[in-house]
Symmetry: C2
Subunit: 457 residues, 2 copies
C-alpha cells in the first residue's frame, strides 16, 4: 500500500492517489502521509498537495489523526480559507488539542479561523485545569427538552449531521440546561414518533463534574461501559460530553505515565521518536541524580562497617544479592499496590488490610529465599578456608529475610502514604524504594554480621 | 447509599431495597451486593434474596458485573429455571467468561441451562486460543443482505431488542456470510426508508481475524475509534464482533499484565484482595529465586577482586551507587521501549534507530552523572586519609559512565530481542536487567580500580 501510493506520487499520478485514498480509513491516510514525511520521501509542498486531494469532510478527520509536526507543516501551507474549512469541520475538543500543541503564531491563525461561537467554547475549555474532565470534553452533543417528541428528536439528529459517537446518546435538559434524563438512539428507534421524550427517558444519569480528574472519568467508562458521559457544572447543567474513544486515550495515557514514573522518568507529550535526545536526557536525569546522591547514605553505612569486611572480606560479595533481592521484593509490592490504586481495587482505607497481607506474603517468600540462599552459600563457599560458610550463610540469610519483610512493607507504605498526601504514588516505585531498601538492608546486614562473627568496631 | 440499603436489609424492608435498586445503575447494584458479601454483613441466603428483587432484564446485567465468588454463590442458590433466565439474558461472550471462571460442576449446570443454539456458539468461542480476538468476541450482532432496504433493517433492529453497543453498527454480508460492507445506525436514520442497504453502505471495512491477538484488536480500537470491530474467519465470513467496552478491558488488562511482568511478578486473574496470600507468594517467588541465584555471578566477581578492596576498602562503599544508578538507567530505557512496543510506537525494524538514540541519550546522561558523582566523592572523602579522593572519584565516575552506557544499551537490546523471539518483552524489565547490569558494572568498576590505583591481583 505504502509503496504503491509512494510510486504514484513520484509519477505525479494524483488520480490514482485520490482513488486509493477513497478506499482507506482516515487514520490510515494520516499514517501514510506521516510516513512519507517522517522518512523524508515526500517534501512539504507535495504533502500539502496530497492533503488537498481529500474531500472536505474527510480532510478534517484525517487532520486530527496526524502528529504535531505534520499539523504545523500543513497549517503553515494552508490559505486562511482552507484553514477555516478544516477548523469548521473539527470537533471543539480536537481544536482545543490542536491549540495546546501549536506555537503562539499558529494559535492566532487558528483562533482567527474559528467562528465566534466556537471561539467562546474553545476559551471555556482552555480554562479548565489540565487533566480535568472539562479539558477533554467536547461541546458538540444532542440535547432535547423533556416535552419534545421522538419525531422532533430524530429530525434534530438528522439535521445536525454529527459524527457517530456524539449522537448515540441524547441528553434531556430543563430550560436552564440542568440535566434531567438520558436516552439512547436505540430508545428513539423503538419508540413511536409521537412519544414524549420525558416519558421514555431514563432519569438515572451518571455524570462527571468539569473539575473531576480525567482518570476518574475514564474509570467511569470502564465501570459502566458508556459510549459517552455527560459533563456537568456545579449546578448540574450539562456543558459537554466525553466520548469513549477519548476515555480510551486517557486510559492508555495514564498507564504510560504511571509506567514512566515507576521507572523514574518524567513524561513527554510526544512519542518516543518525536522526543529529542536532549528532551529524553532531561526527562531522565533529574531522578537519576536524586537517586544517585541518595545512595550516598548506603555508602556511608558501608564505610562505617569497614572493620567488618576487613575481617571477613566475603561479606562484601553478598551485597548485590541482598540489595537486589530487597529491591525486587519492594518493586513487586509497590507495583501491585500502585496499579491496584489506579484501577480502584485498593483504596486508602484498605491500608492495614494491605499491610497485613504483604506481611504474610513476605514471611512465606522470606523464609523460602533465606533457606535457598543458605544452601547456595554453604555450597559456594564450602571449600573456602577464609570463612566459616555456615556462619556466613546464617548471616546473609537472616539479612535476606529481614530485607524481604522490610522491602515488602516499605513497598506498600510509601505509595499509599504518597496517595494520602496527594503525590503521584507511581513516583514511589522501584527506583525510589530500592534506594531506601539498599540503605536499610546493608545496615541490618552488617549488624547481623557483627553479632554472628563477634566482630567489634 | 451503602448504609441506607444495609439498614433496609437488616429491617427486612425489601420494598425500600427494591425501590432503591430501581434508581441505580446495574454496575452500582453489583458493587453494593459485592460489598455486603465481602464485608460479611449479609449472608448468602439474603444475598440471593436481594438478587431476586431485580427485574429479569436487569438481573442478567447486574450478574455480569459481579466477581467470581459472588457469581458462584448465586448460581449455587439458583433453581434450574432461574439459571436459565439469567443465561438466556447474558451475551454469549459473558456466558463464555462465566464458564471459564467456574468449577466443572457449575459449568455443567450453565451449559444445561443454555439453549442448543447458544451452546453451539459457546463451544465455538471456547475453542479459540486464550487472548485471541475469537475468545473475546460476542456472536450477537446485526447483519443484513446488501439488497435489503433501510426499512427492513430498522425493523430488524427494533425486533432484536439488543443492547446499545451491539446495534450501533450494522454489517452487510453476502449469502455465504462474507462481509462486504458496514453502516452505522446514523446512516440508517439519515437515509430514506426505501434506500437499498448496498447503496448506502461503506465498502471499506476494517476487520480482525478470529486468531488475531486481543492486544492487536485493542490497538485497532485505539487507532480508528470504532464502537465495534467485526471479527472474521479466513474466508472473510463474519463470525462475531468485539465492542469498545471489551477493548477497553483488554487495554487495562494488558497494561496491568505488563506492569506485573516488569516487576517480576506473574499475574493472577483475580484482583489483589481476592488473590490469596499463598497465590501471591507463588506468583512472586519464582522470579525472586531466579534473580537471587543469578546474583551469584556478581558475588563471584566481587570475590575475585578481594585484593582490590582489601587495599582500598572504600571501593566497596561505591558498589550500591554504581549498581543502583546502572539499574535505574536500564529500567528507564527498558520501560520506554517496552511501553513503546506495546503502543505500536516502536517496532522491531526500528532496532538500530532506538540503539543510536539511547546511545546518544546515555552519553549526555552519563557525563552529567559522572561529573556530579566526581564532585560528591571529592567532597565526601576530602578529609579521609586512607584514600586518594581524586583517584577514587575518577575511578567511580568512569565506572558510572560505563554503567550508564551499558545499561541503556542492554535496556533496549533485551526487550527488543525478546520480542523478536516472541517472549513477552515486559519480562526483560527492571529486575532482570538490573541483575545483568549489576554483574557487568562491578566487573568494569574493579578493573578500572586496578588500573587507577595500580593494584595487582
Amino acid at each position: 500500500m505504502y509503496e504503491m501510493v509512494k510510486e504514484a506520487v513520484d509519477k505525479r499520478d494524483f488520480k490514482t492517489v485520490k482513488e486509493t485514498f477513497e478506499h482507506l480509513e482516515e487514520a490510515d491516510i494520516a499514517d501514510l502521509m506521516q510516513g512519507f514525511h517522517d522518512n523524508r520521501e515526500v517534501d512539504a509542498k507535495d504533502i500539502s498537495l496530497l492533503f488537498r486531494l481529500l474531500p472536505k469532510d474527510t480532510a478534517a478527520e484525517v487532520f486530527t489523526y496526524m502528529e504535531t509536526d505534520m499539523k504545523e507543516l500543513l497549517i503553515n501551507r494552508f490559505t486562511d480559507t482552507e484553514l477555516e474549512d478544516i477548523v469548521d469541520n473539527l470537533f471543539i475538543d480536537d481544536t482545543v488539542d490542536l491549540i495546546e500543541e501549536m506555537p503562539a503564531n499558529v494559535v492566532q491563525r487558528i483562533l482567527a479561523a474559528s467562528d465566534p461561537q466556537s471561539r467562546k467554547m474553545i476559551n471555556m475549555i482552555l480554562k479548565y485545569p489540565e487533566d480535568s474532565a472539562g479539558s477533554i470534553m467536547t461541546t458538540e452533543f444532542v440535547y432535547m427538552k423533556r416535552d419534545q417528541t421522538v419525531k422532533e428528536c430524530l429530525e434534530k439528529i438528522r439535521s445536525l449531521g454529527m459524527v457517530k459517537e456524539t449522537v448515540y446518546t441524547i441528553y434531556v435538559t430543563e430550560q436552564d440546561r440542568r440535566l434531567v434524563g438520558v436516552l439512547s438512539i436505540l430508545d428513539l428507534l423503538t419508540a413511536d414518533d409521537d412519544d414524549i421524550i420525558g416519558d421514555i427517558m431514563d432519569e438515572n444519569v451518571i455524570t462527571a463534574l468539569t473539575t473531576d480528574d480525567q482518570e476518574q472519568v475514564a474509570a467511569q467508562f470502564a465501570k459502566y461501559d458508556f459510549v459517552a458521559l455527560p459533563i456537568v457544572d456545579n449546578e448540574n447543567r450539562i456543558v459537554g460530553i466525553v466520548t469513549f474513544d477519548d476515555a480510551m486515550d486517557v486510559v492508555e495515557e495514564e498507564a504510560t505515565e504511571d509506567m514512566a514514573h515507576m521507572a523514574a522518568t518524567m513524561t513527554s507529550e510526544e512519542s518516543y521518536f518525536k522526543t529529542s535526545v536532549i528532551a529524553h536526557a532531561r526527562n531522565r536525569i533529574v531522578w537519576l541524580l536524586v537517586l544517585m546522591l541518595s545512595s550516598t547514605i548506603s555508602s556511608i553505612i558501608i564505610g562505617h562497617y569497614e572493620a567488618a569486611f576487613a575481617t571477613i572480606p566475603l561479606l562484601v560479595a553478598s551485597i548485590p544479592t541482598l540489595t537486589g533481592t530487597g529491591g525486587n521484593c519492594g518493586t513487586q509490592t509497590s507495583t501491585m499496590v500502585i496499579r491496584g490504586m489506579s484501577l480502584g481495587e485498593i483504596e486508602l482505607k484498605d491500608f492495614f488490610k494491605v499491610m497485613f497481607k504483604e506481611l504474610r506474603i513476605s514471611l512465606i517468600v522470606g523464609v523460602i529465599l533465606a533457606a535457598v540462599n543458605f544452601l547456595r552459600i554453604c555450597i559456594q563457599y564450602s571449600k573456602d578456608t577464609s570463612v566459616d560458610s555456615v556462619k556466613l550463610g546464617i548471616c546473609v540469610s537472616l539479612a535476606i529475610f529481614a530485607a524481604v519483610v522490610m522491602s515488602k512493607l516499605i513497598g506498600c507504605i510509601l505509595p499509599m502514604a504518597a496517595k494520602a498526601v496527594k503525590i503521584d504514588p507511581a513516583l514511589m516505585a522501584a527506583p525510589f524504594i530500592s534506594t531506601i531498601v539498599d540503605a536499610s538492608t546493608t545496615l541490618v546486614f552488617f549488624n547481623i554480621a557483627l553479632l554472628v562473627f563477634n566482630i567489634k568496631i
